[in-house]
C-alpha cells in the first residue's frame, strides 16, 4: 500500500467502529426483582398514562374553527304587551353572544332640553347648584339652577335628554323568559384533519328536533335549550337572575378521537355562570345597559325612548380537541419510553451499592479506578480489591449524587 492510502484506510477503519458500554450483570434475586419492578412501573406509566390516557401516539388539533348560530323562540307578556324575539333579543344577528332582556325601565318621549335631576341633587335655592355648574350629573350637565321636581322637592337643573330617567322604579321582570327556548346550530372544523362536523347528529331526525328539549340525562344531543333548564344546570335562580341580569356561559366541548368511528365525535354541553363575581360581591351586581329608540316629530325635532334593560347574556363558547394517529409522535414517545426505562438504574444503583449485602463486592466490580498520580495507578493494578474497598468506604457518604453519575 501507498502510505497515504494506508492511513486513509486505517482512519476509516477507526471511524466505522461501534462503542457500547461495558456492563456488570448482577445475579442477585433482591436487586433483580427490584430492577424488574421499577422497569414495570415505568413501562406501565408510559403505556397507561402517556399512551392510553394522554393518547401520545396522536397528533392533536386544538385550533378549532367554529361557527355558531342561535335563535331564540318564545313570547313574553310585559307591560300588557306581547314581546317577541325582535323586541327582547339584542344583538339581533343570532351570533354566539346575545342578550335576552328580562326587565326594562322605559323613559318615553325624551327631547333635548332642560329639566330637574331625579336623584341625589336636592336643592332649595340656585346657590346650592352653582358649584355643579357645567359639570356632569347623573343624567345631564348641570346648568347651576335649582328647579322644582315634585311637590315640595327641588332639584338642580340639567341640560340633556328630558325628562330624566327615574332609575329607582320597581318593575317586575318578564317571567316568561324561563320558558323561552334557545336553538343553537354549531358547525366545527379541525383544519389539521380537514374534519367537519355539526351539533345535529345524524341520528337526530327532523321530527325529533321539532319537539325535543335538551336534558342532561335523556336528551344530551338535542340542540334546543330551555332557558329555565340552562339556569338549573348552571345552578342559578331564575327570579334573581331575571331581576338583576347576569351572564351565562353555554360551553360546547368537542373532544374527538378521530381514530374511532365518526359517530363518537359528539358535542358535550355544559353551563356556568360567567359573572360569578356578581354573586360574591355586592358592588354593581348584575348586568344591565341602556339603549334608545329614536323618533322624529313632524317638525323635525328628535325625540327618543330611553330603555334601561336588565338582561341575561348568553355566551356560547366552543372549544375542541381532536387527535389522530400519526407516526412521528408515536416514535418520539416510544423512544422516550425506552429511554426512561433506564432511569430505573439510578434507583437500583443506590440500593445495590449502599443497602445490599455484599455492596463492597459490587462496588469493586462496578468501579475501576484511574488516578493522575502514577503511584496510585500501580497500586490500583496490584491491590485492586483492597483499593475498591477503601474506595467503597469513602463513597458511602456520597451515595445519592454519586449514583446519579452512573446513569446518563
Amino acid at each position: 500500500f501507498h502510505p497515504h492510502t494506508a492511513k486513509m484506510w486505517s482512519c476509516m477503519k477507526n471511524f466505522f467502529t461501534y462503542e457500547t458500554t461495558k456492563s456488570v450483570v448482577v445475579k442477585s434475586w433482591t436487586i433483580g426483582i427490584i430492577n424488574r419492578i421499577v422497569q414495570l412501573i415505568i413501562i406501565s406509566y408510559f403505556i397507561g398514562w402517556v399512551f392510553i390516557w394522554e393518547k401520545a401516539y396522536q397528533v392533536r388539533d386544538t385550533a378549532i374553527e367554529s361557527s355558531v348560530m342561535t335563535k331564540v323562540k318564545g313570547f313574553g307578556n310585559y307591560n300588557n304587551r306581547v314581546m317577541d324575539v325582535a323586541d327582547y333579543v339584542t344583538p339581533t344577528q343570532g351570533g354566539s353572544v346575545f342578550c335576552i332582556i328580562t326587565k326594562m325601565i322605559t323613559t318615553e318621549n325624551q327631547v333635548q332640553g332642560y329639566c330637574p335631576e331625579t336623584e341625589k341633587y336636592n336643592c332649595t335655592k340656585d346657590s346650592d347648584c352653582t358649584k355643579y355648574r357645567h359639570r356632569p350629573g347623573g343624567y345631564g350637565i348641570f346648568t347651576g339652577n335649582c328647579v322644582p321636581f315634585k311637590t315640595n322637592i327641588s332639584m338642580c337643573e340639567i341640560k340633556g335628554w328630558c325628562p330624566a330617567e327615574i332609575d329607582t322604579i320597581k318593575t317586575e321582570p318578564m317571567n316568561d323568559v324561563e320558558n323561552f327556548t334557545i336553538f343553537i346550530k354549531n358547525s366545527i372544523r379541525f383544519p389539521t384533519f380537514n374534519y367537519t362536523k355539526g351539533n345535529f347528529l345524524p341520528s337526530i331526525t327532523n321530527e325529533y328536533i321539532k319537539t325535543c328539549n335538551f336534558n342532561k340525562e335523556k336528551d344530551i344531543y338535542c340542540p334546543i335549550f330551555k332557558v329555565g333548564d340552562i339556569l338549573k344546570n348552571a345552578e342559578q335562580n331564575f327570579t334573581q337572575l331575571a331581576d338583576m341580569g347576569g351572564v351565562i356561559g353555554i360551553m360546547i366541548s368537542w373532544m374527538c378521537d378521530l381514530d374511532k368511528s365518526d359517530d363518537e365525535c359528539k358535542p358535550l354541553y355544559s353551563f356556568t355562570r360567567l359573572d360569578a363575581m356578581s354573586q360574591q360581591n355586592n358592588v354593581s351586581p348584575g348586568y344591565n345597559f341602556r339603549f334608545a329608540k329614536y323618533y322624529k316629530m313632524e317638525n323635525g325635532t328628535d325625540y327618543r325612548t330611553l330603555v334601561k334593560a336588565f338582561a341575561i347574556r348568553f355566551d356560547v363558547i366552543v372549544n375542541g380537541n381532536a387527535g389522530k394517529f400519526n407516526m412521528i409522535p408515536t416514535i418520539i414517545n416510544m423512544v422516550a419510553a425506552f429511554t426512561s426505562v433506564g432511569v430505573g438504574t439510578v434507583l437500583c444503583d443506590i440500593i445495590l451499592l449502599n443497602f445490599l449485602k455484599g455492596a463492597e463486592q459490587y462496588k469493586a466490580k462496578k468501579f475501576e479506578e484511574v488516578s493522575d498520580n502514577p503511584l496510585d495507578i500501580q497500586s490500583n493494578g496490584l491491590y485492586h480489591s483492597q483499593l475498591s474497598l477503601r474506595h467503597t468506604h469513602f463513597k458511602s457518604s456520597d451515595s445519592g449524587a454519586f449514583s446519579i453519575d452512573h446513569f446518563s
Copy 2:
C-alpha cells in the same frame, strides 16, 4: 496531619472525582457501519425536522394581538330601492364579524293587537282554538278564538304584533351582493417580540389599493375582496347562499420568521364555509334572523317594521405564529439531539449481541457477571469465557428487554 483534617481531605478528594462509563469498542465493519448510519439518521432527523422544519431554535409567539376593521362597498337594487351599506350591513360597526343581508321578508306597520295566525293553526270554530289558549303560537299568544284569515280560511287568533308575518312569501335575493367589495384592515402585534405589522404591505401604493381586487394568483396582498371571489374560493354557489344565507370564514394567517427580513412576514388569506353542516343536513339550513325598526304614530302608538333577513355572515379570523432565534431553546434542543444520538445504541446492541457473527464473544466482552452467591463469583473469575457463553445461551430469549437495559 491532624487525623480530622486528613479525613476531610480524603473526603474532598473522593468528592472531586469523575466517573465515566467503561466502554467496549467493537472493531467490526458491519456493526460500525450500522452504528454510523443510525447516528446519521438521528442527526438528519434533528437537523432536518427539528431544526429546519420545526425551527426549534426559535422562541415562538402564538398569542397574536389583532385588530380588524372592515368596510363593505356597493349598491344593491332591491324592491325598487337602492340599498347602501347602512341598509344591508349589520352590525354597522365594521368589526371582524358582519352580515350582508341578501334577502328580506318585510312586514310593515305592525302594531300590538289581535289578529289571525298565518300558518298551520287553521280552525272552523272557537272550540278548535281553546286548547291553545294562553300558549305561544308562531307569531304571538293564542286567545282561544277562531277568526277569519282569508276568504274561506279561518285561523286561531293571537295577541301580539299584528298583522303577523307571512313567512312563506317567495322573494328574490339581491344579486348585486356578488359585486360588493369588502375592504379589510388588519393590524397585528406579537407581544413577545413587540413586533407590529399590518396587511397593507409597504409595496402597496395608494393607487394600487384604489383599484385592486384580491386574486388568489395575482393579487394575493390586495386587501379588497369581491364577495363573488370569496365565495368562489370557498367553493360556494352564490345563488344558493344568497337565497338561504350562510357563514363564510375569511382566515388571515400570519406565519412569520422574524429572523428573516421584515418583508417576508406577510398575511395569507384563505376562505371557507364555516357552517358546513348546513350543506350536509337539511334541518334548518342557512342563516337568517329577525329584527325590527320601531316608529311612533303622532298619537304615541308604537308600530314597527319586522324584517326577516337572510344574510351571508363573514367572520374574519386572524391567527399567527412568529418565531425568533433564542439561545435557550437552541441549547435545549441541541442537548436533546446529542442525547438522542445515544438511542441508536439500543438498536445496535440488539444487532450486535444477537444477529452478528461472534455475538458470544461480544457478550463476553460486554458483560461481566457478579453474583451474591460466593461460589458463582469464584467460577466467574476462573471460567470467565465459559460463563459468558452460558450466560449468552439463556439471555438470547430476552434480547429485546435485555438490550434496552444497557442503554440509559
Copy 3:
C-alpha cells in the same frame, strides 16, 4: 430436579438479574472539579430556571373563561346637544368590544330618489355621464344624466338615498370624550382548578369604587378608567385619535400562582393601540363607519338620517395563566433534571480524553477493544496497553462525535 423445572428456574434466575454500567472512576483534581462544576450548572439551571422561574412543578391552565361587562359614563356637548351613553356608545350591550363615537357627519332626511353626486363626478352634459349608467358611484347608482349640483357646478345624477352625503365637511370632534369613564367588570374562571375571581378585589370598598380612577402608579386595581388616562398609557394623542378614530386594546392579564395566597391572584391592566398600522401608513387611516336611523312620514314614506361616525373602539382582551402544584409534572421534571445531569459527562469526556495530561492512560482504561478479526483479539489480550495507545492515536481526530457515543 426435573429437567424442565430446572430450565424454568434457570430462565427466571436469568430474568431477575440487574445490569448496570461498569464505570471508570478518575481520581484527578482537574477533571473532578470540572465535573462537579458542570453538574452544579445543570442542577442550578433546573432549580433556577425550570423549577423557580418556569414553575415546572405546577399544572397550568391557560383556557381561561372570562366575562366582561363595560359601562361608559359621561356627557358630551356636540352640536349644541348633550349626548349621553345611549347616543355615543355602540353597540349598546356593554360587552367587551364597544365604540365611543367622537365625531359625526350627519345627513338628515334622506329619502329614496334621484339627486346629484357630491364628489368627483363633475359633468357639463348628459353624455359625460352615460358611460357610468347603471354603475355604482360614491352614493348611489348612476342614471346617466347630468344635473345641477351647486351654482355653476353640475354632477352626474344618481338613484339612491337623497340628498347624498357630503363627506368633506370639517367638524370638530367631541372633546369631552377624554373625561368619560369606562367601568369594567371582569369575572374569570380557571376551569381546571375551578377557581373563580373578579377584578373587584376584596380590599376594594364600595366607597373607593365610587370615587377612584385607575392610575398606573397608585390605583392599579381600580376598575374605572378615564379615557384620557387609557390613551396616555397607550401613548396616544387624544386630539388626533378623536379626529380620525382608532382601536385601543385594554388588556387584562391574570397570572396566578394558586399555591400562594388567594389575594395574590390579581388583574394586571395594560393598554395599547391595536390598529398601529394606521399610524405607519397613510392609506385609509383611522376608524369610521356608517349607520342610519330610520323614520316614517305620516304617509308611510321611509326617510332616514345617515351618520358617518368616527369612533374610538375599545377591545377588552382578557388572558390568563394559572398554575398549581401537581405531582405528575414535578416527578417528570425531576427525572428530567436527574437525567440531564449525565449530559455533563459528554463535555467531561471530551476534556478527559483529549486535553488532559495522561489522556492516553485514561483512554486505555476507558476503552476495551473487541474485533471480529481473531488475530486482533489475541493481540488485544496480550498487548492491551499498547493497543489502547494506538487506538488513542487514531481516535484523536474523531474526539467530538466519538465522545458523544459514550453518553446515552
